[in-house]
Symmetry: C2
Subunit: 279 residues, 2 copies
């Protein structure tokens, strides 16, 4: 397995940073994450756009331009020999002299095996709970998931698969996924602000617009539990039905028509991009 | 220079963690920081109490008990050969298999040269600006200083030395320091909630109580700018007068009587603990 650190390819066990790096001193780093299928990085242009946007928003400069970074990633994928992988591109605040002010950023790219969800996972769907919290700077993909990791024992206790954040009665997002609802009027709705703009979210919005009314708007916790269908979107989970919220069953407790249709369309989009061959 | 990682002493350049550590994956780590004078760690019991409290609040277990950890720190100080140093004790979420769920924590202790502020810095005081923000889980000393580091270019632009957070018109703390005001009635007041309980703060409260009325209470931004004196407290800055807030001069723009008196008492306390010898 290979990694890339600043300006060279190294072995996976060399993906080390000194503790003086601002990621460890002050949680100061941004990243992005995407998948490969058939060795092809899916939606890489969108992910790199967001990576550069996150870096700029944190006042961090990426030495490589987008074509250069893309080539490095393609070379890394080839070196890895993996057909399906998760690529994580991280840019940190660097080795800070005073443990506070950013220095020359460290760029670290890793390529790891990835379990993706199956049709079976889709059928089973997930059960979630809601929790009042607003992420700091949600539009930036930073490494701050403190609250999400902290909530894990609470999720286990509640036998829930994930947690949906809300603030002042308005839902926003899951720690690593966006949320969508299908209303009783068959409109597709998703929060439009105080969130990270997901790449799968963007694709789903675009696919849905072909056949139905779509809205980016504030959604209350009441709208949520009264929805006909709920699902989440993310790079690893693609589209996943949410069948229970705070123990309340949504719809008839099975993946809904709209969710199934969008899931199939999204899989087709991915297949067309990855030129997947049936073996 | 020496460091301690999990169960052994290593050289400083070996203070490395693999990127799979949750500190770099999810900003999930706690720490504490204290100074040595004459090779003696100041207020170490208080700092370790807080370190164990932070770890427990984040559901992280420290393998060593307090006496064991204290001995490791004392040995590290001795190995470093430094009379004056900053000791940073960090506990991370460990090398996570799925980049999300905590694993066996990594314990990393570093000992570095430290510049402490002088009487001259005290005389000059600092100029600060206020900024609306509430830290997540402020009572836990986690590595999340994203907002503070992000604000650095803004501070530079405003020619300010530090930023004081407030929320809904109530001031809370600086990113790395607590705030105190002396009211026109000669009462000492400091925020009592939504803050990290500083060790210097605790000592200053205790010293002040001997001679004046002291209150832990909500303080508005109006109370702040109308205060007779303002100062901050921190491990590295000890007590530092705040002489300007958002360009408004506080008092007569010089360190006030109460601030000076508490500063002297605090230095005496430190000296008595460190058995400082005049060379």
């Amino acid at each position: 397995m290979a990694i890339y650190l600043n300006d060279r390819f190294l072995k996976n066990d060399e993906a080390l940073l000194h503790v003086s790096d601002l990621s460890m001193q002050r949680g100061f780093a941004v990243f992005d994450f995407f998948r490969t299928e058939n060795g092809i990085p899916l939606f890489i242009a969108d992910h790199l756009d967001r990576f550069y946007t996150s870096a700029a928003a944190m006042h961090l400069h990426i030495k490589q331009n987008k074509p250069e970074l893309t080539n490095i990633i393609l070379e890394l994928i080839e070196k890895s020999g993996m057909a399906r992988a998760g690529i994580r591109v991280m840019l940190t605040g660097g080795y800070s002299a005073d443990s506070y002010l950013p220095a020359a950023p460290n760029l670290l790219i890793t390529c790891n095996p990835l379990n993706v969800l199956t049709d079976n996972d889709f059928e089973k769907g997930i059960s979630v709970i809601s929790y009042e919290h607003q992420r700091e700077m949600p539009h930036i993909k930073s490494i701050n998931y403190q609250m999400a990791v902290w909530l894990q024992p609470f999720l286990k206790e509640k036998k829930a698969d994930d947690v949906l954040y809300f603030k002042n009665n308005i839902i926003t997002e899951f720690p690593r996924s966006n949320v969508f609802i299908v209303t009783n009027e068959n409109k597709l709705a998703t929060p439009g602000r105080h969130i990270l703009q997901g790449i799968t979210r963007k694709n789903v919005l675009s696919l849905a617009k072909e056949t139905m009314q779509v809205e980016e708007c504030d959604i209350t916790t009441e709208d949520l539990v009264n929805a006909k269908e709920i699902f989440l979107t993310s790079t690893t989970k693609k589209i996943l039905p949410v069948l229970k919220v705070n123990e309340k069953i949504i719809g008839d407790g099975k993946p809904g028509k709209t969710t199934i249709s969008l899931y199939q369309k999204f899989l087709e989009l991915e297949e067309s991009l990855a030129h997947l061959v049936n073996l």
